[in-house]
């Protein structure tokens, strides 16, 4: 088991390294002087020269990458000229809202999607099943910001139930914090619900065709127990896998949702950085998000051992 974890950890290193190479190359392949781009539009010659020296831009590109990677491994993502702070500190400041939004979204999505998927598989081909499949295609198709505005219009503006925009820190109290996050989390969870419900339905449906389900029913187990303990438990691996893969969708959604609901998180930071052409911040945020994505999927891989005792690494 520990050997497996070690092996999987080692296996993620090349992936992360290639992500680093790609993020590094992104800037180098942009026409223009990288130092001038990194320094921002308002920089003077002296600042540009300082950045050029620190990046080693007069040296071969492999050496430049080495310097950049060295800084990266030391936890230095450079300095944002727009916010005038270290990018690492900036990401730290913006982490709480995004983490809160993502966690709440995943919670809502799993709590809603898994029972829906199981119910659809249980009544396969019935009206509920068809309705859920229809909803799932719709969920993939309605853009998250259109959905956001529809919800704001109905829930906030017409019914006045929840705030239109804004964010309260957890330190300001749990209820105001939750109150401001509910609508963004519901918005963001729709596409995720569509994805998870679909896969849950498919994998529970497959499990329901197995012999042990017939046995469980034959020995007179209550249907709920058959569905949860036997069907769902055996369908767990694909469901957890899709939750992991869905993190990429979630990250994309966070960028849009935070922008619509004015939540000062990493997604909002990404958009602001792009609008200001603040490249050190763009690079930092992309690296951070990709790192989280790879890490979550590593954890998903490891969870298989607990979800399915047949899997031994």
């Amino acid at each position: 088991m520990y050997a497996f974890i070690a092996r999987r950890l080692v296996a993620t290193i090349p992936v992360l390294l290639i992500v680093a190479v790609l993020v590094f190359l992104m800037l180098r392949l942009t026409p223009g002087d990288p130092a001038a781009i990194l320094a921002g539009d308002a920089a003077n010659t002296e600042q540009i020269a300082r950045i050029r020296a620190s990046l080693g831009l007069d040296r071969p590109i492999v050496v430049q990458f080495g310097i950049w990677l060295g800084n990266l491994l030391a936890g230095d993502l450079g300095e944002s000229f727009y916010y005038k702070t270290r990018v690492v500190a900036l990401i730290g400041q913006r982490l709480e809202p995004t983490l809160a939004l993502a966690t709440l979204t995943i919670l809502v999505a799993v709590i809603v999607a898994v029972p829906l998927g199981v119910a659809a598989a249980w009544r396969f081909g019935g009206w509920f099943d068809r309705a859920l499949m229809g909803f799932s295609v719709l969920g993939f198709s309605v853009p998250v910001f259109v959905l956001a505005y529809m919800l704001i219009y109905v829930v906030s503006l017409k019914a006045g139930l929840l705030p239109v925009q804004g964010y309260r820190r957890l330190a300001d109290g749990f209820w105001p914090f939750l109150y401001h996050l509910i609508l963004p989390a519901i918005t963001l969870s729709v596409i995720y619900i569509a994805l998870i419900a679909r896969v849950t339905r498919a994998s529970v449906l497959e499990a329901l065709g197995e012999d042990y389900i017939r046995t469980a029913r034959a020995k007179g187990l209550p249907e709920v127990r058959v569905l949860v303990r036997h069907a769902l438990a055996n369908a767990a691996v694909p469901i957890v896998t899709v939750i992991g893969i869905g993190i990429a969708l979630l990250i994309g959604g966070v960028v849009v949702t935070e922008s619509v609901y004015a939540i000062p998180g990493l997604g909002r930071l990404t958009v602001d950085a792009v609008l200001a052409r603040d490249f050190p911040t763009i690079q930092g945020v992309i690296l951070f998000f990709s790192f989280v994505y790879v890490l979550v999927n590593l954890l998903v891989d490891m969870s298989y051992v607990f979800l399915d005792p047949r899997i031994r690494y």
Partner: protein, 315 residues
């Protein structure tokens, strides 16, 4: 005489079976409810895009300070490029610069469809090249696939946003930027198909006959990848239309004067409380378009690619 006769019969029956299967696949596609619905809606959208100038629209970049923030259905004035003032009914209202939302939305169909189709074609073309190379040239496989793994580890929208930010928004850069994150998925698909197909007897036969590698790849292997690639292409198209709208909406995509659904919505954000139609109309068009492409893709997958359909649980 028995053996050759039998062989001939077998050959005939195999040929007949192939003919029957091809016909029924095409018929299955045409009979499929999803393919029909999605296809019809898309056809209507394509026609809308083509005949946009004759649908009672005005130039979507025209604005008139006297016709700002009109509610849907109101009539106002608009100044043409010649300086002529004409009466115009704003069926979907006007924005804060006095531009006609209806014209912008109808013309926006063009941008969305072009971006969707070109992104899909570009991602497929590059993905097919990489996938064939990776599946057939074993020495290249390791490096290329590790590279693709790395590319897939970066969320698609982030790549698109970052690339457009660096290259500045234009139609070409937006299309390339959205297509790039889709390439690894196509590459993986083609590679896995190649690895299966290259073990088939007819490929082995072609190799032993001394057929050149390029001919095996494009003449024998690629034609057998078409069905799953068509399915994948429609989903890329739907995703590309969504991402283009997101980029425009966030203000990092095409320049704001170009009429795209995302740009119309971005413009309408500030006064959403009072004039929700700025977001509502382009939003509905966007959602219907993406929905149509997705439904078409689902139908194609169910009829052309049964293995994938089972995995996604739609059969």
């Amino acid at each position: 005489m028995d053996a050759p006769g039998r062989k001939q019969y077998e050959a005939l029956s195999v040929e007949a079976a192939v003919v029957v299967r091809q016909e029924s696949a095409w018929q299955r596609v045409r009979r499929n409810w999803s393919v029909r619905t999605g296809g019809i809606v898309l056809c209507v959208l394509v026609i809308l895009a083509l005949v946009a100038p004759w649908l009672g629209t005005v130039d979507p970049t025209l604005f008139d300070a006297g016709s700002r923030d009109l509610l849907p259905g109101r009539t106002g004035e608009i100044t043409t490029l010649d300086g002529e003032v004409v009466r115009h009914t704003f069926w979907m209202g006007s924005d804060s610069l006095g531009r006609d939302i209806y014209s912008r939305v109808i013309y926006g169909t063009r941008v969305s469809l072009v971006v969707g189709i070109l992104c899909a074609l570009l991602a497929l073309a590059i993905g097919i090249a990489c996938g064939l190379a990776s599946g057939y040239l074993r020495w290249l496989d390791g490096i290329l696939m590790r590279f693709m793994d790395g590319l897939m580890a970066i969320p698609a929208i982030l790549i698109a946003i970052a690339l457009v930010a660096m290259w500045r928004g234009s139609l070409a850069t937006v299309i390339v930027a959205i297509a790039i994150p889709e390439i690894p998925r196509v590459t993986r698909l083609v590679r896995s198909l190649v690895l299966t197909i290259r073990e088939e007897p007819y490929v082995e036969a072609a190799i032993s006959l001394g057929t050149p590698t390029w001919k095996i790849l494009f003449g024998h292997i690629l034609p057998n990848c078409i069905a799953p690639l068509v399915v994948q292409g429609t989903f890329i198209c739907a995703f590309a239309i969504l991402v283009e709208a997101i980029l425009s909406f966030l203000g990092v995509g095409l320049p704001p004067d170009i009429p795209t659904w995302g740009n119309v919505m971005a413009e309408g954000r500030q006064q959403f409380n009072d004039y929700p139609h700025n977001i509502f109309f382009p939003g509905v068009f966007l959602a219907v378009t993406v929905l149509a492409v997705n439904i078409l893709g689902d139908g194609l997958r169910d009829t052309l690619d049964p293995k994938m359909a089972k995995k996604m649980g739609s059969e």
